[in-house]
């Protein structure tokens, strides 16, 4: 019982952290490392870094190489790890390769200034009366204005020859405000392994390690200051006394979470088909097992019995797949098939329409301290709740105008704990609740939503952004403040969290960007009264708009 409460508290904490990350701008990377290797400008690959232009997409597809004649463009020749002729002697010698002539390293730093709406602290009404802010159990106090340090991250990426690409990025800020030091992506990609099995060129590549899922629109390398709400949506079921709906679902999986696993992919991002299918670790609790200090558990950090630890909290491996097709719309067929379209005044991005779909399947696991059917013998009872996220996306591009959007439907099976008499245990579980012996299915926890965004590069250094985010969830309380227990905010009110976010980004130097965005949210309430018909009525609705300015530089 205590375990479960602690579990709930931890889950609540995580939910608050997730909510806060909505306010804290997310990382985005441009790769000065490549700029150094090829002695070329950011604009060779990026529109408004880190947004890739068509050439940048082709460069990435090719394994961080120029799609053709890469060696003629490299200004820093790679170091040969063995003569190419050594290949003839294999297996009596080591298969040779290359490493970049200089470690391809890029660095990135950002700072922010945020203005929060006057009502941002109205969320404190979620706390029991008399709870001071900033204390354990109390909401943090949100100042009207705040200077925030972002992150300092290092990233390195390139190619080892033989079509083997690598990428590692790491936030090395481990102290200071918002420091969230940690590994981002870290993977090897074996590009075009289709050539070994006589499949069409680029139809099969393998990526292994740690990576962002092949999302229709990247989050880790997004130009936006704030992340897409739907990508952060953890599916947390409704458990509220004023509505009959009971959902024992606490799935902390977020679509933009970094995944550990393997991915097969093929096709191109700059035209034609593209697919990927990945098998990745399941971690729906959001708690890393590498923190486990039990002497019976080998730790990933080597702290316990040595050996490898565990990053997954389930035996099941999740599956993600994506399929998309991009129609380049130039009339001239040679131009249509080229990496970039031939414009009258120079090459430019294609006019295109891209359509895609994606599907994620996993099995969330919740383990509870319970009893056997005799109602006395202690036992761990496990709820396995299969879940999926499915959706579609589109992107339309004309010159420097790009309109794109994504829709997602999320579905988690809802396994309600039952006691030895077969009765559903009323949620949330407390110390006086009966012990669970098993589970029965209840109404599934679902959500849907997405985003629609328009980017317009008005000048090569000015990007105008208009964006709409929406998340509809039966359980979503205000802006992700899910799991705040015993709050009266619940389903009868629009449980949608949506916002309109206009923004502008200005490259004040080729490698320095100033960004601004304003998040406009609908009115919401945290306090309610009951009207004469017995329905709750929202009191004192308020908005919690926020404006953020970011300054980011890469070198």
């Amino acid at each position: 019982m205590m375990h479960f409460q602690r579990f709930l508290a931890a889950a609540g904490f995580i939910a608050v952290v997730i909510a806060l990350t909505l306010l804290v701008p997310r990382p985005s990377d441009a790769i000065p490392a490549f700029s150094r290797q090829y002695q070329t400008s950011c604009s060779t690959c990026h529109l408004d870094f880190p947004k890739l232009n068509d050439f940048g997409k082709a460069f990435k597809d090719a394994g961080f190489k120029f799609p053709k004649d890469d060696q003629t463009f490299l200004k820093l020749p790679p170091v040969m790890l063995g003569a190419p002729a050594q290949k003839d002697l294999w297996p009596n010698t080591i298969w040779p390769g290359t490493i970049p002539g200089m470690p391809p390293i890029g660095l990135r730093m950002n700072n922010f200034f945020q203005v929060s709406g006057r009502h941002a602290n109205d969320f404190n009404q979620l706390n029991p009366a008399g709870t001071p802010v900033g204390t354990v159990g109390g909401s943090p106090y949100v100042p009207r204005t705040d200077f925030e340090t972002g992150l300092f991250s290092i990233f390195t990426a390139g190619n080892f020859g033989s079509g083997i690409a690598f990428w590692v990025d790491d936030d090395i800020s481990v102290a200071g405000d918002n420091s969230a030091g940690g590994l981002g992506d870290g993977y090897l990609k074996f590009v075009d392994i289709s050539r070994f099995v006589h499949l069409p060129k680029d139809s099969l590549s393998l990526r292994a390690g740690r990576f962002e899922l092949d999302l229709p629109f990247t989050q880790a390398r997004s130009i936006n200051l704030s992340s897409y709400d739907i990508y952060d949506e953890a599916n947390v079921g409704a458990m509220n006394s004023i509505v009959p709906l009971q959902q024992f679902v606490n799935n902390q999986f977020g679509f933009a979470d970094v995944a550990n696993g393997l991915e097969l992919s093929g096709g191109h991002q700059y035209g034609g088909y593209h697919y990927s299918i990945a098998v990745v670790n399941q971690n729906t609790s959001g708690i890393s097992q590498s923190a486990n200090t039990s002497t019976f558990v080998p730790s990933a950090t080597g702290g316990a019995n040595g050996g490898l630890g565990f990053a997954s909290d389930s035996n099941f491996k999740d599956i993600y797949s994506r399929l998309s097709y991009r129609f380049n719309l130039e009339r001239d067929s040679a131009s249509r098939k080229a990496v970039q379209a031939a414009g009258a005044t120079g090459p430019r991005d294609h006019t295109y329409l891209s359509l895609g779909s994606y599907y994620f399947y996993g099995r969330s696991v919740q383990r509870l301290a319970g009893v056997l059917i005799d109602n006395t013998t202690p036992a761990v009872v496990t709820a396995r709740e299969p879940f999926y996220r499915v959706g579609g996306d589109f992107s339309f591009n004309f010159r420097t105008f790009n309109l794109f959007g994504l829709y997602m439907y999320g579905h988690d099976r809802n396994q309600l704990p039952i006691d030895a008499n077969g009765n559903v245990i009323v949620l949330p579980i407390t110390t006086s609740s009966p012990l669970p012996v098993g589970f029965i299915s209840g109404r599934s926890a679902t959500f849907d939503g997405g985003f629609l965004q328009a980017d317009y590069l008005a000048l090569p250094w000015i990007m105008l952004i208009g964006r709409y985010d929406a998340v509809n969830s039966t359980a979503d309380r205000i802006n992700g403040l899910a799991m705040a227990q015993n709050t009266s905010f619940a389903v009868p009110f629009p449980a949608t969290r949506n916002r309109i976010t206009p923004g502008v980004q200005i490259l004040i130097h080729a490698n320095i960007k100033a960004g601004f965005e304003y998040q406009i949210r609908p009115k919401q309430s945290v306090t309610f009264a009951t009207n004469s018909s017995g329905f709750p009525v929202a009191l004192a609705p308020f908005r919690s708009n926020a404006a953020t300015v970011g300054l980011e530089w890469v070198y």
Binding site: F55, G346, P347
Partner: protein, 191 residues
């Protein structure tokens, strides 16, 4: 070379009857960068447009050569030797924005030609690779030279007389000064 000889031949044919000719030579000292020396005006003769084309390549994300000198009326073939698309444009010629031009884009192995009828400095840019930089110096007369890596140059067979000579050096303001050729002339300058 052959082209120069022909032009010189024409020039000599015009002037040899009345005057002696000599070389202008010297050294343009600079920390780095190419220098071009040319005569602003060669009195009493119109230089015919050269018939042979000059060539300027785009290779490994750069303009090659980085600096090209041509006489006014000269035609340059812009080739693209890279497997990536390039563009060539110039926002102005010697600061005159009315003379800006964009040649568009063309695939690997192909070329576009352009005839430069206005003398001046043509800064070449590529709107895909903003780091790409090149210069065409369109000399008003057929008397010009591109200094070598050490800065040494020779403008051969300049008819005796008084001229204005201009020295262009990348990144610096062009410098003009009078020069008199009497058999030969020396010009040393540093940037």
């Amino acid at each position: 070379m052959k082209r120069n000889l022909i032009m010189l031949g024409i020039a000599l044919g015009l002037v040899s009857a009345v005057a002696q000719a000599g070389d202008i030579s010297g050294k343009i000292s600079a920390a780095q960068g190419a220098s071009v020396v040319y005569l602003d005006k060669a009195a009493g003769k119109a230089s015919p447009a050269p018939t042979q084309h000059f060539s300027l390549d785009q290779r490994s994300l750069s303009f090659q050569p980085h600096v090209l000198v041509i006489p006014v009326g000269g035609t340059v073939d812009f080739t693209n030797s890279d497997s990536v698309a390039h563009n060539v444009f110039w926002p102005a010629i010697s600061g005159n924005r009315k003379l800006s031009h964009n040649l568009g884009t063309w695939p690997q192995g192909e070329k576009r030609s352009y005839t430069f009828d206005s003398p001046g400095v043509v800064p070449l840019l590529c709107n895909v690779h903003s780091e790409m930089s090149g210069y065409i110096i369109v000399s008003p007369t057929p008397y010009y030279a591109l200094a070598d890596a050490a800065g040494n140059f020779t403008i051969p067979n300049v008819p005796d007389g008084s001229y204005t000579v201009t020295v262009w050096h990348e990144g610096a303001k062009p410098v003009s000064k009078p020069i008199t050729v009497n058999g030969s002339a020396k010009l040393d300058m540093s940037f």
